[in-house]
């Protein structure tokens, strides 16, 4: 009895392989892109080094943006439209979901966590990065972190960025473990770091890669250190409109192709292990095992919940 699904699976696979790319009628976003000859990319302005604006041109750069550009190149081939126009649309953490939903932008690649709440509103592509939520603190005289881990923060001021998963985690931790921390929710990462640098908070909890970005921007990068046990692991992915399987598949295929060809390693070292604009700072953030896993086995599911 088990043989039927196998035959069916083989038949479907055969059908997929033999079908030329998009020979069938285009639908959804692919049709929109094909008919209008333009694709609109949603990007961020200060998610360093994922998607940010580094110069006066106002065009985004970054790790996620390079992936987005690779997706556009793949779509040009798929649709046979070498002169596809690219439009940019700056989004914030508040506007990114509605602007994808209402068609203002076609795909967002930044530092958006793939989670189940958001998946009610949009579809996520395969994951493009994975972070752990950790702490940025000042180094003490011996170059060690002044607060080594979360447990040392009892009764202290801790800053995090409003609307992030870190905010939720640290608030829950504060309630569950009765740590008496004062939690400041700053409006963006830059302002969170400002609170840390000015001494209003002793630690800044955020995604480790973003902490590395803020650290690199500091007046004295050597004064700061990333520390603490990761409280969660989160996968970043690009967002596309919901229920548009053809477009999602085209985008997923383009990302997976980057992974298969090893091109992703070049993009990674360009943004995490080399000097990046605008100041030419090097984040020195080697690829974690989590990111290596994510490239080896692409998935569009949220990162598994890790309880520590």
């Amino acid at each position: 009895m088990r043989i039927v699904p196998h035959i069916l699976g083989a038949a479907i696979a055969a059908a997929l392989i033999s079908t030329p790319v998009f020979a069938a009628e285009l639908t959804g976003t692919l049709k929109k892109i094909n008919d209008s000859g333009t694709i609109t990319l949603a990007h961020r302005d200060s998610s360093i080094p994922f998607s940010y604006i580094a110069d006066a041109s106002g065009k985004p750069v970054g790790y996620s943006h390079d992936i987005q550009v690779a997706i556009v190149e793949a779509l040009k081939k798929d649709l046979n439209k070498p002169d596809l126009q690219v439009k940019y649309n700056l989004v914030t953490s508040q506007t990114r979901i509605p602007l994808i939903q209402n068609g203002t932008a076609d795909i967002e690649c930044g530092s958006t966590t793939n989670n189940t709440e958001r998946a009610q509103q949009v579809d996520f592509t395969v994951n493009i990065f994975e972070i752990g939520t950790r702490l940025l603190v000042k180094k003490d005289k011996d170059g060690k972190p002044s607060y080594a881990d979360f447990a040392d923060l009892k009764g202290k001021n801790v800053v995090t960025t409003a609307g992030t998963t870190s905010e939720r985690i640290i608030k829950a931790m504060n309630a569950d473990k009765q740590m008496g921390m004062n939690i400041i929710s700053a409006k963006d990462h830059g302002e969170s770091f400002n609170m840390l640098e000015s001494g209003r908070a002793v630690a800044f909890m955020m995604d480790d890669a973003l902490l590395a970005g803020e650290e690199a921007k500091a007046k004295k990068p050597a004064d700061w250190i990333i520390t603490g046990t990761p409280q969660s692991f989160e996968a970043y992915a690009c967002m596309v409109r919901k229920d548009d399987p053809a477009f999602k598949k085209a985008v997923d295929d383009a990302i997976v192709a980057l992974y298969k060809s090893g091109e992703i390693n070049k993009i990674y070292s360009k943004w995490f292990e080399s000097p990046i604009p605008p100041k030419g700072l090097n984040l020195n953030f080697p690829m974690s095992d989590k990111v290596k896993d994510l490239i080896a086995t692409p998935s569009d599911k949220p990162a598994p919940d890790v309880k520590i």
Partner: protein, 248 residues
Amino acid sequence: MNYNWDWGVFFKSTGVGSETYLDWYIAGLGWTIAIAVVAWIIALLLGSILGVMRTVPNRIVSGIATCYVELFRNVPLLVQLFIWYFLVPDLLPQNLQDWYKQDLNPTTSAYLSVVVCLGLFTAARVCEQVRTGIQALPRGQESAARAMGFKLPQIYWNVLLPQAYRIIIPPLTSEFLNVFKNSSVASLIGLMELLAQTKQTAEFSANLFEAFTLATLIYFTLNMSLMLLMRMVEKKVAVPGLISVGGK
């Protein structure tokens, strides 16, 4: 647009303790009211003093009040808030600075900044209302009081201000409501008032439209109730024959 509406979201758990999103809104509303009421008291007191200063027959005194108004009215509220929150504490002596930044609960320091900022900003606007209220009175009022031997403070306290306040209740109501709406700038320095809680709910639940719709309704209901309350006050304090209320 394929949006997944879910009006039940407010009763869902936020994942922080046992709080629901509705609890966040209630806490946020509490802060909004706490900011607005205290800021309004500052604005009304200071604004009245400045308004009187602008009308007294002394160039230096009225000049000071004019400078105040121009300064506080012409700088955007958000810029003023950032000055009060980020810049002013850095001008304090070091030990006071450390206390303010590290020992004081960050919510308290944010609250102090926003209350002072909003109070002083609104005072400039109240000042102008008070000034116009005083200037709207017939000049004969002041002359008559003077002729009867009243001193300047007595003229203001017993003759001009009681009438001026009655005249300006409608524009003062607008300013009163503005304080509630302007208190939303506090969300940008991490004070979890109504708008900050709304943004947080939108971000955590991904139900952006529901989150902002509820905030709109709460602000609207709050301000409508305040407006009706002020209308009752206006009727209550009206002096028959002095000014007409409600077009009578």
